[in-house]
Symmetry: C2
Subunit: 295 residues, 2 copies
């Protein structure tokens, strides 16, 4: 019988615990900060996407080969959240209802914890024992992740996100921000999972065609929740992005058009999986969760 997404999540949480240095080990404080932010109640959407894509491309064996990559993506995601929350960036005090890393520790520790999570992401991909079978494939997946993380991906998206707090963004600017800041890592996690699972080029291409609309839709739903979400479910005060003058999909296109675009992108993503059978059921479930989530 197929595993469930809940089983995937438990596996990811256990593996992250194994990959992260223990708190009592030197240097204790930065290890504590890394663990504080990694185990902060995240839904693990990105690692689940990775494992579901690997399952679709290569079954149970494929999934196993993608596990370290799935965890690495969560490390990169968490590193980006820690740095984005800093006073000189979005200056957020709370994330998921808890103090942000620099509030719980201090700014220097938060910067270094983010730096260390990035380093560790590349280290766990490069040292996965399963990689010995096909090191060239590991390098390919690692490159996919590095490019998604770099200035053409989430770092570029964050630069633009800050820039457009002060000046008006056009719809094209905003789509670029969403595709880089959020979409690129979602595409990388799906493509990397498919690659490491040994997916054929056709299957990996289909997975990319699934991930691109899902990545954009993910952020549009985030913007929708920022104006219509529930504070308790979100773990933060809704309306913050709108108030801070950040460009959002809802501000530029309105609530109804935003919901319609998310639904259209969802349909486009499902269509990209038309050649897959039940092996992509988990991936389809996840897409539905992403579109219909309330937090």
């Amino acid at each position: 019988m197929d595993p469930t997404l809940d089983e995937f999540k438990s596996l990811v949480d256990l593996s992250l615990d194994r990959y992260l240095p223990k708190e009592p080990a030197w240097p204790e404080r930065v290890h504590a900060a890394m663990r504080y932010s990694i185990f902060a109640g995240g839904k693990r959407i990105r690692p689940l996407l990775c494992l579901a894509a690997a399952h679709a491309a290569g079954g149970a064996a494929g999934r196993e080969r993608a596990l370290s990559f799935a965890c690495a993506v969560e490390l990169i995601h968490t590193f980006s959240l820690i740095h984005d929350d800093l006073p000189s960036m979005d200056d957020d005090d709370l994330r998921r209802g808890r103090p942000t890393c620099h509030k719980a520790f201090d700014e220097a520790t938060a910067i270094l914890a983010g730096d260390a999570l990035q380093t560790l992401a590349f280290e766990i991909i490069a040292t996965d024992p399963a990689g010995i079978e096909n090191p060239a494939l590991v390098l390919e997946a690692l490159t996919v992740l590095a490019r998604a993380c770099g200035t053409a991906g989430l770092i570029g998206g964050q630069m633009d996100d800050l820039k457009y707090e002060g000046i008006p963004a056009t719809p094209a600017d905003l789509e670029r921000i969403h595709r880089t800041k959020t979409g690129a890592l979602i595409v990388a996690t799906v493509v990397g999972g498919g690659l490491l699972a040994g997916g054929t080029p056709d299957r990996v291409t289909a997975l990319r065609a699934f991930a691109e609309p899902i990545g954009l839709a993910f952020q549009i739903v985030d913007d929708i929740l920022d104006v219509s979400g529930d504070a308790a479910a979100l773990g933060k005060t809704p309306g913050k992005d709108a108030k801070s003058g950040k460009a959002t999909w809802v501000a530029l296109h309105g609530l109804e058009a935003s919901k319609q675009r998310a639904a259209d992108l969802h349909a486009q993503a499902l269509e990209a999986l038309h050649s897959f059978g039940s092996e992509a059921s988990l991936l389809r479930d996840l897409a539905s969760r992403i579109i219909h989530r309330v937090s």
Copy 2:
């Protein structure tokens, strides 16, 4: 005829220019900040060590295979300088006589430029075309660099460096700080160069035995220059570390004992190369430059 260290430096500068995204490319501001800090008059000691080690282990062909790694180490070094200079860390306004990155740009841009340099380091190693011949070796070298950068290496060293601004460091604490914050990356650059050049295990072991004392000596010389160096040559005001209450070798052991220890470590490093002939001449020259430098 053997190349000179000056030729190596020109090659590294040209290669860094090729690897770094161009300033006019989106996102312009972070690309400008990355280039500002990379082309800030650095002596390129770490890439030169990498290429000299590669030359010692594998001649001209070996050197070529280590070039991307040599540049990656410089990206990591520069990323760490940008983040260490931030107001919440060492709060430095000047580096090599020019405004630090966050002063020339702003804090958010400096944090993201550092982040992006780290990402790019791993990307250029993973995508080096020469890596196709032996991708497992590329993964091994990449792992060496990631470990030197992580919490067991320079990030851990920087955490400790900040911690011991407030409390007294024992000689053992200080040696750990110097070996992690400075030494680890120097060891990684030499070992990575030797590995990628196709060095035999014996040669790589000897290169490591050379790099460990040189890495520690490098930082001891830095501490010596902080109290006895010339402001114009250093591009910064000497005495800053001593004044800020930072633990330094000179403060704990005195100037004469510090000079003696640097000389002893230099001798130990040269002894580690006893099985090498003239192929290690450049590496010996570099060791001498590191010990006898005035800036």
